[in-house]
């Protein structure tokens, strides 16, 4: 069930340049079903900014009723969000969308590939996969070292490769360069990041099955406004479509026309 909760700020820290980790407490957490779901955040109380901001659930803890969001303070809304203090509340609508399907994975290996602010949901996903018996490997791409985060946390869960565009951390280049170079073996891949990255990944890993999480500008976030619609790969000019907010944001690779 989707709920609208005034969630309490438990902690709020800057973990890299312009990157913030926000831990929220509230009953909404009870409703979270799968890693990869997201929430819609109302920043401020008035009309500035007007619309909610979609942010992935990076991780959550059902017992403590807490969840973690990791976001980049970039535009008007996220910059304002970064000013919220511990003890204050944030207006959250969620959980939204469908997350990653985490099946039993005994003796299977998952490759998790994230780019920039696409990295956060992979953290919760990685933990879920491990809980289901998967071995996990991570490839994380960042612009440069200053905006990278959660390296150690991912390393605790499994093998972790980092790529930065300028080479200031890990391999110089993109996540696809790491795949090329390291050729990590895996059974299924799970990815979240900018569309060009997903596109490159999907075509490079064409023979593999995987899941990708998409981003699209949103209005309602719940499937009503048709803002976030994408064509399907098997009908690129037709009338069949998916909505990123309610059908996604996670789709099996190859379903959506990127």
């Amino acid at each position: 069930m989707i709920v609208n909760d005034q969630m309490k700020v438990v902690s709020h820290e800057k973990i890299a340049k312009n990157i913030f980790e926000l831990v929220l407490h509230g009953e909404l957490v009870n409703q979270i079903k799968a890693p990869g779901q997201f929430v819609h955040v109302k920043v401020g109380t008035g009309i500035d900014p007007l619309l909610r901001r979609p942010i992935s659930i990076a991780a959550h803890n059902q017992e403590e009723q807490s969840m973690t969001l990791i976001y980049r303070a970039e535009g008007k809304g996220t910059k304002l969000l970064s000013l919220v203090d511990i003890g204050e509340t944030v207006d959250i609508l969620g959980p939204l969308g469908n997350g990653f399907t985490v099946e039993e994975g005994e003796s299977k290996t998952a490759l998790l590939v994230g780019g920039g602010i696409g990295v956060p949901p992979l953290y919760g996903l990685s933990k879920s996969l491990i809980a289901k018996g998967w071995e996990v490997k991570h490839i994380l791409g960042f612009q440069d070292r200053s905006v990278s985060f959660y390296k150690e946390r991912f390393e605790e869960l499994g093998e972790t490769f980092i790529a930065t565009v300028d080479g200031s951390l890990g391999t110089k280049g993109f996540v696809t360069d790491v795949i090329q170079k390291e050729a990590p073996g895996f059974d299924e891949y799970f990815s979240c990041g900018p569309t060009p990255m997903l596109k490159a990944l999907q075509s490079r890993l064409e023979m593999k099955s995987g899941f990708i999480s998409l981003e699209e500008r949103m209005g309602c976030g719940i499937g009503a406004c048709f803002a976030c619609v994408c064509h399907k790969q098997d009908d690129p000019d037709g009338y069949s479509y998916v909505k990123v907010c309610s059908d996604g944001p996670v789709f099996p690779a190859g379903v959506v026309q990127l």
């Binding site: 009309i47 007007l50 209005g219 309602c220 719940i222 009503a224 048709f226 803002a227």
Partner: protein, 313 residues
Amino acid sequence: MRRLEIELPGLSLKNPVMPASGCFGFGREYSQFYDLSELGAIMIKATTEEPRFGNPTPRVAETNGGMLNAIGLQNPGLKGVMDNELPWLSQFDVPIIANVAGSKMEDYVEVAKEISTASNVKALELNISCPNVKTGGIAFGTIPEVAKELTKRVKEVSEVPLYVKLSPNVSNIVEMAKAVEAGGADGLTMINTLLGMRLDIKTAKPVLANKTGGLSGPAIKPVAIRMIYEVSQAVDLPIIGMGGIQTAEDVIEYFYAGASAVAVGTANFVDPFVCQRIINELPALLDELGVDQISELIGRSWGKHESKTIYSS
């Protein structure tokens, strides 16, 4: 609790608050949040003869106090709406206002004829003001003669009363209102979005793939209020007002201006409970204003008090 009731052509509204077309889909998503029977009515997403995919994405962009959209009338087409959406909606005790769109007159006529036969469709809303479709659309809404002719032709085939949705992108809104009145409209809905645009600082390109889009939200409310104020004094048609409504106070302002009911669009995206909340807040606000029936407020800004009893229950 009959103080919120409003009687309009074809519509017995238990309260004057309804979601605006395109901002509520066909109701399915919002039915997760509250019982749709609580609503005065529902204006469903524009329906065209054939299914439409709409425009490429990005389709929305935020602006100061508002948003731009260029959805491009995506909808499952007349058959899809008749077969799947309207029957599903019939489980709720709420009148449906079907928003009818097209690119040629014949399209409108075809859709209106058919969709007006659905048992829960109590009125049509003729969308002659969508700024986001290349053909037709905007022209129907800016040339009085064309709007009148279209109104007439649709009115001829419709089984239910016909409301015409006016575009604010005109020099003279009163002239447009009079034209559709002359064409036989039973009511007006206003306003649709203002044509606007936003450019990306980094790329220099429009944020919307469609380049321009329709501006909605609180930013446009003063324009809507002004237009309803002018039109309600010049024509004899009831008006369903919309544009930037977020609160019960906004609803009252629309009534004062001359509206007999209101629709809420963009605000649903910010607060999915907004229509329900407004409906619940209205009675206390009427108390504060010392008013028994909300219908008494229609046109109060220009002194229309008891005159329009035909619309009050």
